[in-house]
Structure formats: C-alpha cells, structure tokens
Amino acid sequence: MSAQPQGFQQRAAQALSDENLQRSIGSLKGGFVAARARAVSALPEFEAMREAGRAIKDHTLDNLDYYLTRYEAEVVRRGGHVHWASDAQDACRIIRDICARVGAKTVTKGKSMVSEEIGLNDALEADGLEVIETDAGEYIVQLAKEAPSHIVMPTIHKTTSQIASLFHEHHRQYGFEHHVEDPAELIGQVRSVLRGKFFAADVGITGANFLVAETGSNVIVTNEGNGDLTSTLARVHIVTAGIEKVVPTLNDTSVLLRLLARSALGMDVTSYVTYSTGPRREGDLDGPEEYHVVLVDNGRTKMLEGAYRPMLRCIRCGACMNHCPVYLSVGGHAYGWVYPGPMGAVLTPMIAGHEKAQELPHACTLNGRCQQVCPVKIPLPDMLRHLRHDQWEEGFIRGKARWGIDAWAWLATRPKLYHAVTRTLVGIGALLGRSSGRFRRLPLASGWTTGRDMPAPQGTTFHAAWAKSKKQG
C-alpha cells in the first residue's frame, strides 16, 4: 500500500459526514472499549502485567542484536532460513525471489501488518502471482480494493450490506448466485472459497506477533484459524516480521499474550495461538517444506536510536485507537496509511518520513487516553510532541500547525472535527470512568483529565480572536 498520509484534513472532513462510517466506528465504543474495561477491571494483576510487559520489551530492545542473533541461530538450527531486509524494497525483493525460485503461482496470506507496510501484495501481483488474503476481514478489504481501517478489525468501516454487495459481485463465479445479508452465510462463502485456495497455495505468508529467541518460533494470534491453514498447507511458509518482534523466551510471550488479548479484544485469550518452528520434520505428514523468516528494518533501527525507542514496544493491539477521540471521529482511512490512530501518528512519520506525514502528529488532543490503555505503557502523547518538535526543526511545519501552539488549537480551528472529538472524548471518559475508577487516578500526559475539562469552543469570536492573536504573534 502506498503511503498517502498527506491530506488528513480533507479525508477527516469526508469521514465526519459519512454516516455509515460514523455508525460503524461508533460501535467500537460500546464494543471493544467496554469489553476491555471489563476484562481489565476483573484482573487485579493487570497493572503489574503492564509493567512486566514494558520491562520485557525494553530489555529486548536494549539488547536487540543479542536476541536477534540468538533467534536466528535457533531458526537455522531447526532447518529454517532467516533473511534481513533493510527497507521495504529489500523485503519485497527477498520474497519475490523465493516465490520465483519455487515456481509459485498462488500465494495465500495470513494477516500481516508488515506486509502491508512494505507493499508486498502489489509487488507480488506485479510478478503475475495470485495473492489471496485469508483473514476474512483482510479478504473483504482486498476484494473492495481498500485498505484496512483498523489494525485488529480491518473492516470496521464496512457495513454488512456493503459486504453483501461485494460478495454478490465477486462470488458468483464460485456458484453463489444470490444476494445474502446474513453474516453467517457471508462468512460461509469465505470459508468455502478460501478452502480451495489454502490447498492450492504454493507459498503461504504470515506475520508474527512475536518471534521467540529461545526456540526460533514465530507466534501468530488469530480467531479464525486462517493463519494456521496458510502456514501448514502451503509448500513454503514465509514469515514477515519487524526486527522489534523478537522476545527472549516462551515465558515472556505468555506475559505479553495476556496483555494482548485483553487489550485488543477484551478477552482472556484468542481461539488460536500458534508457535511455528521451521519446516516439516522427518516423518511429518503435513507442514511446509521450506520455512523462511524475513526480518524487516524499514526505519526501525532509526527509531531505536533515541527518543522513539519506546514506540518499538508496540504489540499492535489497537487499544490506543479504540480509545482515541480523533480516531473514533474520523476512522482509520483518514490517516492515509497502514497504521492508524495514535500508534500510526507516530509510526507513519517514522517509517514513511516526516515530509509525507506532516499533519498526523497534530491529529491529537493530548488527552492521554492512549497512554493510559497501552498495554506496554508507550508514552504516545510524548512521542507525538517530540515529532512536532522534530518537524519544526526540520522545517516541515507550515502555518497554523506550528510547534508551540497547543494541540487543541489545531483542533479548534476545525470546528466540525472539534465537536466530534469533544463528544467522543466525553463518551469514552464515561465508559472508562464507569467501569474502572482507577484510571482517573493515573497521571496524565497533559492536564486534560476528562472531556469536561476541555475548553469549550467559542465559535466565531474565538476563532477571530485566535486569528488576531496569531497575526500579532
């Protein structure tokens, strides 16, 4: 997927007047936010777990060369291959070469954010390969020629009847003649169509939630079972993973998995957690003949250098966006690239470049909710403040969005967005407050403890006054 993070404002404005989208993302508040709050308040150990998760990730990042080489040695010892990719182009070339060497025609894919980040599907399709996303949500957005709008729920922006029409158009060739709107029937079609693809696949590509140095395993977390069919039935399994995904031991994965399921879905556990290690063993009746891992840098070593290192702790749970009033007002597509919401507002400029993402670090009210819910305690508002500063230093900021002007000023000059964000912030505040009083006592990144503390919009008077003060300043 090519990065289009410029134009946030225009896309945000469109999103605000898209009723279907508003209804869909509105459901996140009642769904994931409430479920997470329930799961967390049921667990007295949760704060200790967050601290442990943060510590594991920090320790691994502080010694990343050690753990990556330990991990590599284990993969190799168990018959797998490890490839190192400096950037997106490198990563695509490595994977294209493997596909070409094994004479691949059909490629199945489990959900992988990194593969979206490096634009893998386009690269493989340009080589004439049939590439099929197998996660139901990813499959739907692939058919619709769209991008995922949420890292855990890629189809959160799509209504059931939009999906029904899409399937009616694309599934006729498989004998599904009738337009159906029942979710179970629609998923039944996906199951039936993709079952054949899993068996036909030459190469299966998955991501990795974690890479385990101790065993050389990649860990994938799913509810559908598509990742397992992808990795087990194809002749060749390729894992794509950022270099920050490695953790030392199996025990460390257990700590992080407890955090991930609760933070992402508000559940104790997902249906499937799979540890895959190398190609099929002697005597095995199934499993891939070849096992490859592509370790992707693509800007991560740059983040490792200093202020942005904590961002590499991210376990891609999506909690920060589920609790972000801006994300909940405008949806994921407004962010213009693979990673939306607060984590995306940091990752996109870091990976795609400041010049391509000037507005994103400003699409934030610094209300601090993201940091409160982040399972690995990433100080997202601090990261965003840093980015604004860096942008200013590098001369990328023009006009109103200048460093030194409060975040709410950026929002306040966009009345429609401002009102939507305020409403949403109050809504999430109520949800968090009702289910767990303890959040109120956590230190916040900024002085805005609840939506009510947000300065009320002053209409034209305010805007005029602000514009005037700007001219004078």
Binding site: A85, T159, G225, T232, S271, T277, L285
Partner: protein, 210 residues
C-alpha cells in the same frame, strides 16, 4: 549484505559500551533462567477452573473414566445412520477403532467432518488445550474439520502456559504448537460473532481420567 548492515545499525543505535562479555553472560543467564512474569491467579481448584473456562470458551466437554470408552464416545458424536468417515491421528490409532469405519490416518483432507487428535496439555488459567505436531499427530487435523475432537488426559492439565513450557524439552521443540481456546470465529462482518470462520465449528474435548 542486509544482515551485517542491520546489526551494525542496531549496535550503533544502542551505543558502543553495549554487549560486553559481562553483558553477554547476564543475557545468557536470563535465557537459562527463563524468568516468568505475573500470572492470573486461578479462581478455583485446577480441574474445576479448567472445565469452567473451557465451557466458557465454547468447547463441548465430556469426561471418560478410561480411554477404552473413547470409540463409543466418538461414535455418539455422529448420526446413527451413517458409516463414520473420519480422520484420526496415529497417536490414538490403537484404541480399537471399528474395522467397518472409513478412517484416514494421513494428513487432513479438503473436506473433513470430524478429526481426532491428541492433546499435550490443558491450561486451567485460560481454558486452553495445547496440541503439538508430530508424525503421529498432524496439525491439519486441528484446523480442517467441521468438528475437532481433542483427547486430553486429566493428569496433563496444568495451571498456566508457563507450566506447559517447563514440561517440554526445548531440544525437541515441535514444529507446530497450537494453543486452542475454542472454535474458529470471526466478527469481520458487521461486528457479529460467527462460528466457524476457517477452522472447526465445534471443538469437542474428551478428558480421560485414567
């Protein structure tokens, strides 16, 4: 070459003093010690928590006094008027499966009504079942059938995932370790939970007490 370049970038990002002999010894020690972090306290006695959680995860469960009863338990899961056509992991081939059933002891096929595999462990904390791949326990049988039947010995239920890792030999770490916590599901259409997505619609757990 990408590898050396990336490792060099990492080392320079982390600073020169990094990864001395002393540091390496500490890191090696951490790998050997495998420290474990905070766990979720069990709310009940191990087996009762396990069964409660497994049911909450939408497994169906039955307990058998002995493995001799397994074949008739599997028979009862299928319509009376059909000759069973199922796949069974070789690990449990010797349990006296009737000669007139059609039984595949190979890897999973395109269409599978029912497959039976053997569990390595059960986890009380989350109500999960761990199935490891082996020549006699193929992974595809866990994901292709409409109904997945998992056979678990009661004595293999442990408190936490960390207890499973402690029991496994890293040297012979299996190719695939599947931690299964319910049927396949998705909420990608309209946010409504649908079972199944790509994997089993029903997971039936048979706990063998002796």
């Amino acid at each position: 070459m990408g590898r050396d370049k990336i490792l060099q970038r990492i080392r320079s990002a982390l600073g020169e003093s990094h990864a001395s002999e002393h540091d390496r010894a500490l890191l090696d020690a951490r790998m050997d010690q495998r420290p474990s972090g905070p766990k979720v306290a069990l709310g009940a006695e191990r087996m009762s928590q396990f069964l409660t959680k497994v049911i909450a995860n939408n497994f169906t469960v039955e307990r058998l006094a002995s493995q001799q009863l397994l074949v008739s338990a599997v028979r009862a899961l299928m319509p009376d008027d059909e000759t069973p056509d199922i796949s069974v992991a070789k690990a449990i081939q010797s349990l006296g499966w009737p000669a007139d059933w059609k039984i595949n002891y190979g890897p999973g096929r395109h269409v599978e009504r029912l497959c039976v595999t053997q569990a390595l462990a059960g986890i009380a904390e989350t109500g999960s079942v761990v199935v490891a791949s082996a020549p006699d326990n193929p992974t595809t049988l866990n994901f292709l059938p409409d109904m997945h039947v998992i056979v678990l010995r009661a004595e293999d239920v442990v408190d936490h995932p960390e207890d499973v890792w402690a029991r496994m030999a890293l040297e012979n770490w299996p190719r695939a370790v599947n931690v299964i916590s319910g049927p396949s599901r998705t909420a990608d259409v309209g946010g409504i939970i649908v079972r199944p997505a790509h994997g089993p619609k029903r997971v039936h757990l048979i706990v063998i007490d002796a």
